[in-house]
């Protein structure tokens, strides 16, 4: 790690210098760094890169909507006898930088406001009797302080930010000079730079090779390439601009490793990863290859070395960053406070302060009608809103059929126990479904009890056919129940995907496989997060096809033991 450290810091400096060159066009940067000297150094470097007097606004983690967008300032309003509005943080950050800590725990509604501001450069205010459209063009710096295995920052927000850098492994000793910050020559506006012919094509092809679906990625990369050219005083982008943009904007979004052009077979994930993390681009050979291949080689080292781990953790997956928000229920009367809204205090908890706040401006009006000292009307009543903490229920769906079953089952049992121990700490639950012969059974209903789980697991038999479809259907049923309870189900399917018993309990490989794919598609349609662990000795295309259909992350662990399984599962949840 420490060998790469100066590079990382250098990369951070480059990203910041591009941000400084074109503040709001690039969205911003995700910085994975806990509070500490490295983060302070990053902030100092950022400040230095920006002209003096640039707004530098910190956004507290939990803040009411009115602070974000702006709202009525009650004290001043009452004193002045006319409405006085307080500017929100978004507007205050206009032309500067907005810093948000603990981004991994950011409320979805707040993320949506930030997204709207990033998209339009304005903040639309429709609250507290104010209707306005205020300029709010800023660069967003998101500090991701999540531990491995915790939720990621909202994916819809990070999709809009050009850069992402992981400084969490750095120590302050690693920080090098930041001379990249000073532009080499007279700086142009990135708007004055044109993309050279063929460069848009290159960026799209690169995004495609790295498995990046969102179209924002190549767009942000194009913007970064222009900013890079502007810094160097070029009026048209050249290859170094594209390479830099690809390295800084595209590499960290990779959801797959680009296939090496020579070898047609894809080696197992671990092996491939090692290859690409120490690339030896052969200069003689690269001459006559297309630009995107050369760049792919050049940026290979910028693709996170732990891509596989990140894919498991959902950073690259489609379901990233939605986690705890999906399936939430209202109204809750406990949990994280969410602010106040109009409501009936007989059913929800009264928010006295907010009620008085909303009654205050009308006192003069009501006074005339001879009401009491403070006139509070029904429409002033405000109730507190809460977001309940939703728990995760991990549902293991285990193939307990013949062939390798007995072996797999023992490992699955071990993994369930290990995950349970971890659930116990996090107050999460686990459940287990096994399928074999002609049926699928819920062996272990959702539980947090280790002893109960052990007892139930001990008696789990194996052998027989593989009714994969039935197993998946049972899983969906259980997941449905979990979701209705307001919790978040997470499915882990351990199978070799060799289905040979259909949904009707009859044999026949083809029918069984069709049924399984259909059940898998239903799981994806209902939006359940899942992980498929291919347990066959040699990774199977069938299993990855099934994972695809389920929308599941796919993990081939041919000879996994319980400990490795648990290690793979824990960060994935």
């Amino acid at each position: 790690m420490s060998e790469k450290a100066p590079d990382l810091w250098q990369t951070a400096c480059e990203a910041v210098s591009l941000l400084a060159a074109s503040a709001s066009g690039l969205g911003g940067i995700v910085v994975k760094a806990p509070p500490g000297p490295v983060r302070d150094a990053f902030l100092a470097m950022l400040k230095q890169a920006l002209p003096q007097g640039t707004p530098f606004i910190r956004m507290p983690h939990a803040l009411p909507e009115a602070r974000l967008t702006g709202g009525i300032d009650l004290a001043s309003t009452l004193a002045a006898g006319k409405p006085v509005f307080e500017r929100g943080l978004l507007a205050s950050a206009h032309g500067g930088v907005l810093l948000a800590g603990m981004a991994e725990r950011m409320d979805r509604a707040i993320a949506a406001r930030l997204e709207a501001a990033l998209d339009t450069g304005h903040v639309r205010i429709e609250r507290d009797h104010i209707s306005d459209n205020v300029p709010a063009g800023f660069a967003l710096v998101l500090f991701d302080e999540g531990e491995p295995g915790e939720d990621a920052p909202p994916a819809s927000l990070t999709d809009r930010l050009a850069f992402s850098i992981d400084l969490s492994g750095l120590s302050w000793r690693d920080l090098g000079g930041d001379d990249v910050l000073r532009p080499a020559c007279q700086q142009l506006s990135p708007m004055a730079v044109a993309l050279a012919k063929g460069h848009a094509e290159t960026l799209v092809a690169l995004a495609d090779a790295l498995g990046i679906a969102s179209l924002r990625a190549p767009l942000l990369a194009a913007m970064a390439a222009r900013a890079n050219a502007a810094r160097a005083g070029r009026q048209e982008t050249d290859e170094t601009d594209i390479a830099n943009a690809a390295r800084l904007v595209l590499a960290h979004r990779a959801t797959r490793l680009p296939a090496p052009p020579e070898e047609q077979q894809t080696p197992p994930p671990e092996e491939q990863q090692e290859q690409s993390s120490n690339p030896e681009p052969d200069t003689m050979e690269t001459q006559d290859r297309p630009l995107e291949d050369q760049i792919l080689d050049a940026i290979a080292s910028a693709i996170p070395a732990d891509l596989l781990a990140q894919l498991q953790a959902g950073r690259g997956g489609r379901l990233a960053g939605r986690g705890a928000e999906a399936g939430r229920k209202a109204p809750a009367t406990r949990g994280r406070p969410l602010g106040a809204r109009r409501g009936d205090p007989r059913r929800e908890r009264l928010d006295l302060l907010e009620t008085l706040r909303s009654a205050a401006p009308w006192q003069r009006l009501r006074e005339q009608r001879g009401d009491a000292a403070i006139a509070v009307r029904k429409e002033d009543l405000r109730v507190r809103r809460f977001r309940p903490k939703s728990r995760t229920t991990t549902i293991f769906v285990v193939d307990a059929s013949g062939s390798s079953a007995l072996h797999r089952l023992a490992e699955a049992k071990g993994a369930v126990e290990l995950v349970l121990a971890e659930c116990y700490v996090r107050r999460d639950e686990a459940a287990l479904i096994a399928f074999r012969g002609q049926k699928a059974e819920v062996i272990l209903p959702p539980t947090r009890s280790l002893t109960r789980a052990r007892a139930l697991l001990k008696g789990l038999p194996g052998g027989g056919g593989t009714p994969l479809a039935l197993g998946l259907d049972a899983a969906r049923q259980l997941a449905d129940t979990v979701r209705r309870k307001g919790d978040r189900p997470f499915l882990i399917l351990l199978t070799d995907a060799q289905a040979n018993v259909g949904r009707d309990g009859l044999g026949g490989r083809q029918k069984a496989e069709e049924d399984a794919l259909a059940s898998a598609a239903a799981l994806q349609r209902d939006g359940y997060e899942s992980l498929l662990i291919d347990t066959s000795p040699r990774p199977q295309p069938k299993a990855s096809a099934l994972a695809d259909r389920m929308g599941a992350r796919y993990l081939a662990l041919p000879h996994a033991d319980a400990r490795r399984l648990a290690a793979a599962i824990v960060p994935a949840r």
Binding site: S24, E86, G121, R127, L219, R322, A518
Partner: protein, 363 residues
């Protein structure tokens, strides 16, 4: 506008405007509708809703970064101007079937002016007072006077109301919308003030289904539901990136490039609106659409009604005199996909189910 505080007194002054840092200053310079690449179903649905507002709203669901918001915001510049009663805070249109407010109904002479069809943004975090309208705070404070200040619903009357991230809209605001879209009027009772005004608008919502489901009642309010996917075809992706990049570099210039096409589109919409009432609905089309709805088991008559309206609007858009089977086929997925009952045993998505039923019913 009408009594709303447009330039409030802020406690502090905004920092000096930095041209470099503010690329999005001209809000009116939206990405042109005519320049959108692909996403034909979404574009068609929005145009159909513009031709016949009684189709009842468009829901756009799909992946991130597919230009959902861009398309909807672009709609405002595409719509032809309309006639409204001068000075009416609710934007009443005398020729329009959307209804008139109390003042316009009783007023003797109605002078009309040309105005843009409103496409009103309902931002997340909007409070109820701004949506339905409330007392004018400034007057109440300064003069102790009660005056109604119309809200977003009044502003959207006769036009479009757009909610981005509609699935994140708070429950009590959803209730308000359900109530108003069902009755077509907005009723405000506050501080002894009782105001009733027409509020008919086309509801347009967009969102990402991964971020939570929509309440079935609200889902039902949308006449058309389209799914957008990130284009996977490389040539299309390149074209999107090129156009967007050109737009970011020179907004005005880019828009100018597409003025001709935008005018053409606008004319098509105007022509289709005129033609709409004369479009024939042959009995066999009616039969087919009934059979289709029956086969899919869609609840209520709303699906069938919307299906016919959408097919007719599409025929008008095509410049045809009568609805043809092709029109029905084209609009059916958008009209029906969100009305299907969720069948736990069904193994395919709703779009495929509609397509299968189409084949069965129309062959």
């Amino acid at each position: 506008m009408h009594g709303t505080i447009k330039s409030p007194d802020y406690k502090t002054v905004f920092p000096l405007y930095k041209a470099e840092n503010n690329r999005a200053k001209p809000m009116s310079l939206n990405y042109p509708f005519a320049a959108l690449v692909g996403q034909d179903e979404m574009k068609r649905a929005l145009m159909l809703a513009a031709i016949d507002p009684t189709i009842g709203g468009v829901l756009v669901f799909g992946d991130r970064g597919t230009g959902k918001s861009t398309a909807i915001r672009a709609l405002a510049d595409l719509l032809p101007e309309r006639e409204t009663v001068a000075g009416c805070p609710y934007g009443c249109a005398p020729q329009h079937e959307a209804g008139l407010c109390g003042a316009c109904e009783t007023g003797t002479k109605r002078k009309t002016v040309k105005s843009k069809v409103p496409v009103v943004d309902l931002p997340l975090g909007a409070t109820e007072d701004r949506i339905v309208g409330a007392l004018d705070l400034e007057r109440a404070l300064a003069h102790g006077e009660k005056k109604f200040e119309p809200g977003l619903l009044a502003r959207a009357h006769g036009g479009f109301l757009y909610i981005d991230e509609v699935n994140l809209l708070e429950d009590h605001l959803v209730d308000v919308l359900l109530d108003v879209t069902a009755s077509g009027e907005n009723l405000v009772e506050r501080e002894g003030l009782s105001v009733r005004h027409p509020a008919k608008f086309v509801l347009v919502g967009s969102g990402n289904p991964e971020e939570g489901e929509l309440r079935p009642q609200l889902l039902d309010r949308f006449g058309l539901c389209v799914e957008v996917r990130t284009p996977t075809d490389i040539a299309t992706r390149i074209e999107v990136v090129k156009r967007r990049d050109a737009f970011e570099r020179d907004r005005a210039g880019f828009i100018a490039q597409f003025t001709k096409e935008a005018d053409k589109l606008r004319k098509t919409i105007v022509a289709a609106r005129k033609k709409l009432d004369d479009v024939d609905l042959p009995p066999e089309i009616l039969e087919k659409s009934a059979a289709l709805c029956l086969a899919l088991g869609t609840d209520g008559l709303r699906g069938e009604l919307t299906l016919m309206r959408a097919a007719r609007a599409l025929a008008a858009l095509d410049g045809k005199k009568s609805v043809m089977l092709a029109h029905l086929k084209t609009v059916a997925p958008s009209v029906l996909r969100h009305r299907l009952r969720k069948n736990p045993l069904e193994d395919v998505g709703s779009t495929v189910r509609v397509e299968r039923a189409l084949e069965a019913a129309l062959s």
